[in-house]
């Protein structure tokens, strides 16, 4: 049986307070009370996520459209970051 790709859901907008500082961005997660200092492409990933579940491939296509990069190369990086963000709790991992 073909495995379906993992999908991710961004925590509701009010749950994340995102403040770009410089090359780094700080994020306050209301649900956990944790503060995260993150580098690219985490802010860009979050910016590409709305209220619908998405896969790493979906985000790669959206980022490739914006930044003119190869979406195949980007997808692996995004997949790794999404897993890290899921571990932190700022996105929810929805397994198919």
């Amino acid at each position: 049986m073909l495995a379906l790709p993992t999908t991710y859901l961004r925590d509701d907008n009010p749950q994340l307070i995102i403040e770009p500082l410089d090359a780094m961005t700080v994020i306050y997660h209301r649900r956990s009370g944790m503060t995260h200092i993150v580098a690219e492409p985490v802010p860009q990933i979050l910016a590409c996520m709305d209220t619908a579940p998405v896969t790493a491939a979906d985000i790669a296509r959206r980022i490739a459209d914006t930044f003119e990069v190869d979406d195949a190369e980007v997808e692996a990086v995004i997949a790794a970051r999404l897993e890290e963000m899921a571990e932190l709790g700022i996105v929810e991992r929805i397994r198919a």
């Binding site: 307070i17 500082l21 009370g33 503060t35």
Partner: protein, 284 residues
């Protein structure tokens, strides 16, 4: 129990002691400060054991907030014990402002804030500037208003260490100093009473305008500090950032985004003052 009450900035303290001498010293040094009718915190200087009240007297630091592993101090350092205890109450209990472990001075309604590790010179620099036309706001904690972002004064006794003691004794009258305490965990310590204008104006806030990370003992140098580095370092310098939650995040990001920051290295007071004044003119 002998008792003393003192208001410092927005916080009122009650200090109780089984010995009279520390209370007498506190009352003398804090003589210009107001007395609160309601106190926020209680501090107690107690004997480690009943016989240690009289035999090799040893002071246990107790209060509303305590650290069970805190080492007692000899009675000759009771003033230091009282000051440390007041610091502990603020560090562990204060929630009305974002606390930064830093010193601050004010000029023209704007605050210069200095933060760094012990020995960086933040207390000494604030003491020097406070006696050179700046208003001293505090040398232990900077209190940032959670809504306005302004710095609220907290001008306790200035804790001078080692070489800084001689430097300030050359500038300030002898009756403004507390006793010299040798052999403390941080070397020699002597407390300096802040200038009278610092006490009289301790209800007057100031807008943060420049943040410095001083380092004493290095060749004179200046470097910019990126906002993300400032943010990370200030979360380490804050004792209540985590406890304040979203309010703390908002106050800290507002501060980081609005206040220019520089790291300065200096070998002596003259070099430091030159750098401070130049950066203030350029950035504040």
């Amino acid at each position: 129990m002998h008792e003393f009450r003192v208001q410092v900035g927005p916080a009122g303290f009650r200090i109780g002691s089984v010995w009279e001498a520390p209370i007498r010293t506190l009352a003398e040094l804090y003589r210009d400060y107001p007395t609160p009718t309601i106190t926020d915190y209680s501090v107690r200087l107690e004997a480690v054991s009943p016989w240690r009240r009289y035999i090799r007297p040893s002071v246990a630091i107790n209060g509303d907030y305590m650290l069970p592993d805190a080492a007692p101090l000899p009675l000759t350092q009771a003033l230091l014990a009282a000051e440390m205890a007041m610091n502990l109450q603020m560090a562990l209990g204060w929630r009305r402002h974002l606390l930064l472990h830093a010193s601050a001075v004010e000029k023209d309604g704007k605050a210069l804030i200095m933060t760094g590790e012990s020995g960086s010179g933040k207390s000494t620099l604030s003491a020097m500037l406070g006696h050179m036309g700046w208003r001293f706001m505090g040398d232990e904690f900077v209190l940032l208003d959670l809504v306005t972002g302004e710095a609220t004064p907290f001008p306790r006794l200035i804790s001078l260490k080692n070489e800084a003691i001689d430097a300030m004794q050359a500038q300030v009258a002898a009756d403004r100093f507390g006793p010299l305490m040798c052999g403390t965990p941080k070397g020699d310590i002597r407390h300096l009473v802040p200038p009278r204008d610092a006490v009289q104006s301790m209800g007057v806030a100031a807008r943060p305008a420049l943040l410095l990370f001083p380092s004493f003992g290095f060749q004179s140098a200046v470097r910019p500090v990126a906002p993300s580095e400032v943010f990370a370092r200030l979360t380490q310098a804050s004792t209540n950032y985590v406890a304040l939650g979203e309010a703390g995040f908002g106050a800290l990001t507002g501060f980081v985004k609005g206040v220019p920051a520089r790291a300065i290295d200096y070998r002596n007071g003259d070099e430091a003052l030159t750098l401070v004044n130049q950066l203030w003119d350029d950035l504040a």
